[in-house]
């Protein structure tokens, strides 16, 4: 059993604090709770005691939520930062993009809050290294490919910017797509149904929001370091987009709910996002790992990543996206796309789509055939009764990629 999650609640309304504590009283074995009536008091408490998570009101007299979370990110970078605010406006979110990992709106539903806290409590098991957890928690954003970022910026600054053009750019870039999906998942917005793809999410956020955050470095930022740009970011990004397209095509062919189709796409696009975290945070280490594998004629394995960083790219990806409050099916697909059999689910899910699409795209890229021979977790597929579908899915995936290459 994981250690208790220690939480600091901050609000200028004492009745909110006592209410939260009462509501979570039944979870007293899972959570340690402390209360602070304001930003300054919260910082004082944090100076003397370590907490895993801070959940703060945004509008408070004296030090407000934005200032408090900014201080916390700097002084206690390992902490998970959640905003709980009654100021339900896009503007409020915009001031705290990158500061809060998640945004909850007052009044928040008790079961939802409990579930969120429990999921975050489990996270500590996913990435064991405290140091790595600290780095990911302090990360304001995952950088975008410079070319995509520039295109997005240029479009937003053009005389007649088009939201659909911007949406197309976002859905081809894991870094941009992760941010948009995080914003769309926040409880501050009236969340659209069905769950939107990065494309629909961009259109949903709208031109005003996009324009406001596109130059905000804590919202979007490009890879801009010389050394980072030596890394094969384009390859990783291209692979991610292919997997996303194939996963979406496969999910569509399975006739699943629209939610799952867009989750399959998003998860495909984000399944390797951990590699971008390595690239931006451990540039030289990642460079040498890639170089040594290349020279040995081998691919980078999970073991290599564990040895180098203390976690695999899928662990880091799942950790980051959980922190950011992305929908559960996406996180599961990212976390388990190499080892779907460890999932306790036996139905077709975004995980199935991403796992199969990943294997097919790798196969096509290396052998230029769509008959998948390696990389598929047959035990998982057998268990799910989907093993005989692989041939058909291979065809569907190839068609999707052909269509894509023609349109480009």
């Amino acid at each position: 059993m994981s250690p208790k999650l220690s939480i600091l609640f901050v609000d200028d309304e004492p009745r909110i604090l006592t209410g939260l504590r009462r509501m979570l009283h039944s979870m007293r074995n899972e959570f340690d709770m402390s209360l602070a009536p304001g930003g300054l008091e919260a910082l004082q408490i944090l100076d003397s005691q370590t907490f895993d998570l801070i959940l703060s009101d945004m509008r408070m007299p004296g030090m407000d939520g934005v200032a408090l979370l900014g201080e916390v990110r700097q002084r206690h970078p390992h902490m998970i930062r959640i905003a709980l605010s009654g100021q339900a406006s896009k503007e409020t979110v915009l001031t705290s993009v990158g500061l809060a990992h998640q945004y909850l709106a007052k009044p928040c539903d008790a079961d939802g809050l409990k579930a969120t806290l429990l999921r975050l409590s489990d996270l500590q098991n996913l990435v064991e290294s405290t140091e790595l957890r600290k780095i990911i928690a302090a990360l304001p954003t995952v950088p975008a490919l410079p070319s995509n970022y520039e295109k997005l910026k240029a479009e937003s600054e053009s005389d007649d910017p088009s939201i659909t053009t911007m949406a197309e750019i976002v859905q081809s870039d894991p870094g941009l797509a992760a941010r948009v999906t995080q914003l769309v998942s926040t409880a501050f917005f009236a969340r659209p149904h069905p769950a939107p793809s990065p494309y629909d999410g961009t259109v949903f956020l709208g031109m005003d929001v996009l324009k406001a955050i596109v130059t905000d470095a804590s919202a979007f930022t490009p890879f801009d370091d010389e050394a980072v740009l030596q890394l094969p970011l384009q390859v990783i990004s291209g692979h991610s987009l292919h997997v996303a397209l194939c996963a979406k095509a496969i999910a569509q062919a399975e006739n699943v709910e629209t939610d799952l189709v867009s989750h399959a796409f998003t998860a495909g696009l984000l399944h390797d996002i951990g590699k971008f975290v390595f690239a931006s945070q451990f540039t030289s280490k990642y460079q040498s790992l890639l170089t040594s594998s290349f020279e040995a004629g081998a691919i980078v394995t999970d073991r290599n990543e564990l040895d180098a960083f203390g976690a695999t790219h899928w662990q880091v990806g799942a950790f980051l996206l959980s922190l950011w409050g992305l929908p559960e099916p996406i996180i599961k697909a990212v976390e388990l796309h190499h080892t779907p059999k460890t999932s306790d689910c036996c139905q077709f899910s975004p995980l199935t789509a991403v796992h199969v699409a990943d294997a097919i795209v790798n196969e096509i890229d290396s052998t230029n055939t769509s008959s998948v021979t390696v990389g598929l977790d047959m035990a998982y597929l057998d268990r799910s009764g989907l093993a005989d579908k692989t041939g058909l899915w291979g065809e569907i995936a190839r068609e999707a990629l052909d269509k894509e290459s023609k349109s480009v």
Binding site: I16, G19, L40, M63, A88
Partner: protein, 775 residues
């Protein structure tokens, strides 16, 4: 009706926009001279007699100086001043000179031209009054040297001033006359004071002309009497007496001449019924040459026909005849049937005809000009008949000029609400000042309904005592629609901002209501399990079958449920939840009170409650920066108000107070400020004082805070409309006042005073009057 003639305009302007109007003014058929400053203007005025001086100078004091110079040098030109509203106040105050026209900038060209036309007209009217009144009182030299006798009287009949002409006529000195009663020293005992001719003077700036003869002065005299006014107050009279003995003599001479045709400078010819020349005077030779045969003994051609017709009908007839050297004569054929001849009297009308032709030319040019003006322009004569109906009137109203010209306006089939126009015409007729009507409903040519804004100007109609009218109008439908949409959008924006704040106010109690309820639900589960074990325990006890494990189970369950904690927290959770419910209820009730949807009439409103409601609704706007202190007089009665608008005013003032405090205390981390609201009632008024502990209003902007669009706030925090709207709501719709006291660095107090008896009808009339006055 003469609207525009060959008039001379002097433009004193230092900005290009106005200077560029000169070309258009020239095109209107006026002469326009442009100068950039006062010195050049004064130089020009010495040389040319201008009708109108159009002044648009960026420096207010220059404008004032120029007005004073025009006034002091007795220049007859009508000044027109173009200036911004705020400058205009300064000019009106500083110049103490009411005789100028003014145009508030920014103004469309049509307003400038309408004012120009009006000024020109006034100038024409001025020329009809003997100008001597101003000369005599203001220009000592002229007064002294004036050949006619001048007497200035106080209203009580005392003589204030006389000129040398009168002392020499009377054969006395000034001192004999000054301060004496006029009817005693000048009229002698022959007149009682009431019958003294000097007791009568013309009204309204018009001269009263009287003639009298005096044997002791040896002659006939004509006296022009004018009332001297100071504003509307009668201060006395001025009389100019001219010796018209000579004129009388000349008139008699002319009468005599008629008896002796030979000496008559006009043609006189006598022709027999058969056309034979009987007599001509020397002046008649030229006419005779033109109307007779070569022998000059017989009238020929159509002239012979004229003679025959005159004889047979025994009626005079007229004709024109062109003679040598392009002279034109008018002839009157006057038959004397019993003597069997016709007298032909001629009159040289060459000059008159030329003038008429010129006038006609000028008139057609004016019509072209008026026709092309982009406003609706309608001319009416004194009888209300349409004399002019420009192109734009045809286009806007869909009625062509030939359908209306010459008809009474009320008989014209124009698709507008004539009732409103007829009322306006009546007002203009009685008050002789322009009237503005802003919302005349009419049907546009495309059958949609529209709104017309018109100004009715009285204009002098030379053929009548009553004025004619110039109606200048514009289709303002599109503008009105835009304005309405804008107002609606502004209102929605305000509601939207407030709604976000209210949502936050409600979300806070909702959060802990939810949490507490969820907690109580869990408590109940635990407690009901405990209760059922207690029942078991009770049953066992009743049967005297108590087993230790039952007690142990109960104890461990009580420990699991943290029963002590529950006993302590449940009552708190319940009481806090009830607080929260109360708060939400209060906010929801305040929201309903605040907006008063659908109430557009005045209803009884308790001012204290209205303030409470507003404080609640906007709590989120002030609570982070200020404490709220209220001090209400408890027994204030309800008064008739427009609740929605009154709330809006209170909201504006409270939010402004919060903003003023926020500017001082920042985010509130260094302590909050205070907003205090007090109500008091004296017998007739309810006083509301809203005070803040902000920085106060700087002196230099204090005069502008109620101006529309004036704001010191950052974009997005205020449109600058709040206080202007508040002012309008309080003063115009409720007959109250709104003022403020401010103390630099200490804060500001806005004071609203509402009369206890507010008229129940909404009143837009004051606003309309204000607009009319500006126009």
């Amino acid at each position: 009706m003469r609207i525009v003639g060959q008039h001379h305009i002097l433009m004193v302007a230092d900005n290009q926009a106005t200077v560029s109007l000169a070309t258009t003014i020239e095109r209107m058929g006026m002469i326009c001279t442009t100068v950039p400053d006062n010195q050049a203007a004064i130089d020009k005025m010495r040389l040319v007699d201008f009708d109108v001086i159009l002044i648009d100078l960026s420096e207010t004091h220059m404008t004032c100086d120029l007005l004073v110079a025009i006034e002091q040098t007795a220049i007859e030109a009508i000044p027109i001043v173009l200036a911004e509203t705020t400058e205009m106040r300064g000019i009106v105050n500083a110049a103490e000179f009411e005789a100028f026209e003014f145009i508030v900038k920014p103004a469309p060209e049509s307003v400038v031209f309408a004012t120009l036309l009006k000024a020109v007209k006034r100038r024409l009217a001025l020329q009809n009054i003997p100008a001597m009144n101003r000369l005599a009182t203001q220009w000592q030299d002229v007064f002294e040297a004036f050949p006619d006798m001048i007497i200035v009287l106080h209203e009580d009949g005392r003589i204030l001033r006389v000129n040398p002409a009168i002392t020499s006529q009377m054969g006395c000195t000034k001192d004999d006359l000054i301060d004496q009663q006029c009817h005693e020293v000048i009229c002698g005992d022959t007149h009682k004071p009431s019958q003294c001719p000097f007791n009568h003077a013309g009204q309204g700036g018009k001269a009263l002309l009287t003639e009298f003869t005096r044997s002791d002065w040896d002659g006939a005299f004509e006296m022009a009497s004018i009332a001297l006014m100071n504003g509307s107050e009668n201060t006395g009279s001025l009389h100019i007496i001219r010796d018209i003995t000579e004129r009388h003599r000349a008139q008699q001479e002319i009468a005599t001449l008629a008896k002796f045709p030979d000496e008559n400078p006009n043609p006189v010819i006598r022709v027999s019924a058969t056309g034979k020349l009987l007599y001509t005077n020397p002046a008649g030779t030229a006419v005779l040459t033109a109307m007779s045969d070569d022998s000059q003994q017989n009238v020929s051609g159509r002239w012979l026909d004229m003679i025959h017709t005159a004889m047979s009908t025994n009626q005079s007839s007229h004709a024109e005849i062109e003679c040598a050297q392009d002279r034109l004569f008018q002839l009157e054929f006057s038959p004397v049937v019993e003597a069997n001849y016709v007298n032909v009297y001629g009159l040289d009308i060459t000059e008159q005809k030329q003038a008429e032709r010129q006038l006609k030319r000028a008139d057609s040019r004016n019509r072209m000009l008026l026709g092309s003006i982009s406003s609706v322009l309608i001319g009416l004569d004194a009888n209300g008949c349409v004399t002019f109906w420009n192109k734009n009137a045809q286009k806007t109203l869909g009625v062509s000029d030939d359908q209306v010209i010459g008809k009474q306006l009320c008989d014209c089939e124009v698709p507008w609400n004539f009732q409103q126009i007829s009322e306006g015409l009546a007002t203009v007729l009685t008050e002789l000042t322009p009237a503005r009507i802003d919302d005349i409903t009419f049907t546009r040519p495309d059958n949609r309904s529209g709104l017309l804004a018109i100004t009715i100007n009285p204009i002098k109609d030379e053929s009548s005592d009553k004025p004619g009218y110039l109606i200048l109008g514009r289709d303002i439908t599109d503008r009105k629609v835009l304005e309405t949409q804008l107002a609606q959008a502004k209102k929605l924006e305000g509601i939207g901002q407030l709604a976000a704040g209210i949502a936050h106010e409600i979300n806070t109690p909702m959060q802990y209501l939810g949490d507490n309820t969820r907690f109580l639900q869990g408590c109940f589960d635990d407690l009901s399990k405990l209760l059922s074990l207690h029942s078991d325990l009770l049953a066992a006890a009743r049967e005297a079958n108590l087993k230790p494990d039952l007690i142990g189970q109960l104890e461990s369950m009580a420990a699991d449920a943290d029963i002590e904690y529950l006993m302590e927290e449940i009552p708190k959770a319940l009481s806090q939840s009830l607080d929260g419910l109360g708060q939400v209820t209060r906010i929801v009730r305040a929201m309903r009170e605040f907006s008063h949807p659908g109430v557009e009439e005045k209803v009884l409103v308790n001012i204290n409650e209205a303030i409470e409601t507003t404080i609640t609704v906007c709590r989120n706007e002030w609570k982070y920066v200020a404490e709220m202190e209220t001090d209400f007089q408890g027994d204030i009665g309800s008064i008739l108000c427009l609740p929605g608008e009154l709330h809006q005013v209170l909201l504006n003032l409270i939010v402004n107070a919060a903003h003023a405090i926020e500017d001082i205390v920042g985010d509130g981390s260094g302590g909050k400020g205070t907003i205090s609201i007090q109500t008091r009632q004296d017998p007739d008024w309810i006083n509301i004082r809203i005070s803040d502990t902000g920085g106060g209003i700087p002196e230099e902007i204090a005069s502008k805070v109620f101006d529309p669009f004036f704001t010191t706030k950052d974009v997005g925090r205020g449109t600058g409309q709040g206080l202007a709207i508040s002012h309008a709501v309080i003063t115009e719709k409720h007959g109250g006042t709104i003022t403020f006291e401010t103390d630099q660095g200490k804060g500001t107090t806005f004071i609203i005073r509402l009369p206890v008896t507010i008229e129940s009808s909404g009143s837009a009339t004051d606003k309309e009057k204000e607009l009319t006055n500006v126009a």
